[in-house]
């Protein structure tokens, strides 16, 4: 049983264990903690890593993703955790290590992890340790495997530090009982998920006077400028669409292509070929009946728009989960049902795409850009100005490093403020 009431005793016990273990972090140098995190990451990333093997095997069994997808995707989740990247993050956001060395102010940080992708526990738990705080890692529904294994792998290298992290699970984001038990010891709650769950959680934290940082729904897009419309760009876009079956909030759902409708169709053809090629190397995972039907609805809508208009609108890149591309009539940012469904929108000028993206800046997270190297900085700056938080070349959208400010928020500086660190 993992409903809120029955999970409450286990959560309560986990909170007590972390609060007991947490003071020992005061004696640790944050640089040593960063090094420990980096070593843990290496233990996962080295060839034949038993941690990775166990995680992939268990997640392939219990979750929706295929084994090759998990092998690639989990690497991308963990790779950012190098010592150099952690040090750069500290310098960027809080000046230097000394800011983390002050005594006192250590609090339990509760992480409510999203259920769309596995492996989400790695970076938040690592950053929590960097702040010499204990962490409660509430897993998402489809990944109850990674957080316990990740914590176990830290324990294997340093049991004292590992004891400051506790994986927990309860069904849903905010059931009564378990959440109360978690909040009882919390100094900060950091959560990702749907807007409704985030609003509910924010309300509950406000009542308990606990700082809350929530990341709600987000959408990402791609932008391909005329001179970059080529097979290499199509392949890069297909990589971004295929990874995690598009379930991540950095997965592009709409691609704006500078050029005519004919150019858009040719580009769609190329992307579709690339997606079809990835169906073997990166097979799609299991889908619920609702997801399967949503995919069919997406294909049906595009196909019938084409039958009505007397032109091809839908590009089917193999089976339903292998890829579906629709050429859109209207210049807009309409989400897809995910699972490798992409809308391609032809725009005469890049400006048109920027206007649309600006309109949706509240929801916009990332934009992958296909453009010549020289032109990238200029376009990237404009996209950041209109509210995109993750602007990178196509093909790297799903590999954010620690410089990505999710939702435009700093990684750790905001946490420091919330838990009262100077």
């Amino acid at each position: 049983m993992d409903d809120g009431a029955s999970a409450a005793p286990a959560v309560d016990a986990a909170v007590r264990r972390v609060l007991t273990a947490q003071p020992r972090l005061e004696r640790r140098d944050p640089r040593d903690l960063a090094e420990l995190v980096a070593r843990t990451a290496v233990a996962w990333l080295e060839p034949g890593s038993p941690w990775m093997q166990r995680a992939v095997a268990a997640l392939a069994e219990s979750g929706p993703f295929s084994r090759p997808m998990l092998e690639l995707g989990l690497r991308r989740m963990i790779e950012p955790l190098s010592y150099a990247a952690l040090e750069a993050l500290v310098r960027r956001e809080i000046g230097d290590w000394s800011a983390l060395e002050q005594q006192g102010g250590r609090r339990l940080i509760v992480h409510v992890l999203p259920s769309n992708l596995p492996g989400h526990a790695a970076i938040p738990s690592a950053l929590t340790l960097l702040l010499r705080c204990g962490g409660l890692l509430k897993s998402g529904r489809d990944d109850r495997v990674f957080a316990p294994l990740w914590v176990e792998s830290i324990c294997a290298l340093d049991p004292e530090v590992g004891a400051c992290l506790e994986p927990v699970y309860w069904a849903g984001a905010v059931p009564a009982g378990a959440l109360e038990a978690a909040l009882a010891g919390a100094g900060l709650v950091v959560a990702s998920g749907g807007d409704a769950a985030m609003a509910d959680l924010a309300r509950r934290c406000a009542v308990a006077a606990i700082p809350f940082i929530g990341h709600g729904h987000r959408i990402s897009a791609a932008l391909v400028v005329g001179d970059a419309i080529e097979r290499r760009t199509a392949a890069a876009l297909a990589d971004d669409v295929a990874l995690w079956d598009q379930l991540g909030c950095l997965s592009p759902q709409v691609c704006f292509v500078e050029g005519s409708r004919l150019v858009a169709r040719q580009f769609a053809e190329a992307v579709c070929g690339e997606l079809a090629a990835r169906a073997t190397a990166l097979p799609s995972g299991r889908r619920s009946a609702g997801e399967t039907l949503d995919l069919r609805r997406f294909r049906e809508a595009a196909a019938w728009r084409g039958f009505g208009a007397g032109e091809r609108v839908l590009y089917e890149c193999g089976g339903a989960g292998d890829g579906s591309i629709a050429i859109e009539d209207e210049v807009g940012l309409r989400p897809t049902p995910l699972h490798r469904c992409l809308r391609i929108v032809a725009v005469e000028r890049v400006e048109e795409a920027l206007v649309v993206l600006r309109t949706h800046s509240r929801l916009l997270e990332g934009v992958g850009v296909g453009v010549g190297t020289d032109a990238f900085p200029g376009i990237a700056n404009r996209l950041r100005e209109i509210g995109a938080h993750h602007v990178v070349p196509l093909g790297t959208m799903q590999s954010p490093d620690l410089s990505w400010r999710q939702g435009g928020r700093p990684r750790i500086a905001e946490w420091c403020g919330a838990i009262g660190m100077q």
């Binding site: 749907g194 039958f307 989400p335």
Partner: protein, 356 residues
Amino acid sequence: MVPVYEEVLAFIDGSSDRRFEDLALAVFRHQVEGCAPYRAYCESLGLDPASVVSWQVIPPVPIQAFKEAILSCGPAERVFLSTGTTQGVEKRSRHAMPDLRLYRASAMASMRAFFLPDVERMGLVSLIAPSALRPESSLAQMVAWAAEVFSDGAMIEAAPAGEPDFDSFVDCLRRSEKGGAPLAILTTTAALIRFIDHARKHSLVFRLPHGSRLMDTGGGKGAPRPMSRKGLLHAVWSTLAIPGYFVANEYGMAELSSQYWDSVIRDRHDGVHRPRALLAKPWLRTLVLDPITLEPIGSGSAGLLCHFDLANAGSAMAVLSEDIGIDVGYGLRVTGRAPRAEARGCSLSAAEARVG
């Protein structure tokens, strides 16, 4: 004059001895020839129309098709729009009808058979927005025809401005109560629930004369609160004194020209005792399909309802709905809607979006 339409009209009025299958295949070929999007669809399937020899294998069009293309075999005499569903903001279906006689003939014959089998005409009151106000509503048009065909006087429009006017509705109920003339109430389920709440709030109770009846339609769309069918029947009895066997749910879709109706009134009239189910006239048949594979599934199992409506001869006869139902042998039970993806995590998907 399109010959196949005349043949369908003859089938509806009972003057034809053609079989459903013959007509269905004739309609199918007419639609392949006359409806360019449907022809393109069949071509995309690699289908030779001549190879289709059974109505069950006629390719159905999904509801999405009515939202994205005009499925008409000729210039439309009328275009009806769907009202949308309870599942979010979506494009509306457009049902273009080149010959309105088919819809009228089918709808009136079904209403006669399943709602008014025992009376020629009676007093009608409607809580549905009038057709003059909502020309795009196929339901409003059906009610307008019902007023012409079945009302023994001028039908009382109790939603003359679109929204139900409960004061005039109550006046109408009181007149029936006092005068002793039974009344047929035509309403959406949502308006009925609103009226039940209104009656409770104002302690209104009516004892309508025996023979009074009620048609409700539209499911929970726009209802102020959910209400079980059992609860609704009980509330209709306690509020209006209309017994359950005179309360008939009509199952219709803007994309169809024919309707299913609750069996209860017809069964009572025929002296048949069996559980309530939805029945249709012989020109509307339905297959229950596995929602994922779209293969037919056995009687008694829930699946996606795929309708074959000869009265849709001018648009698309075979329509794959989004409704889940069960074939109970003598009729259908609609049990819900086809599922959609659940929200998972922070990535915005179309199912969760309220943009665009």
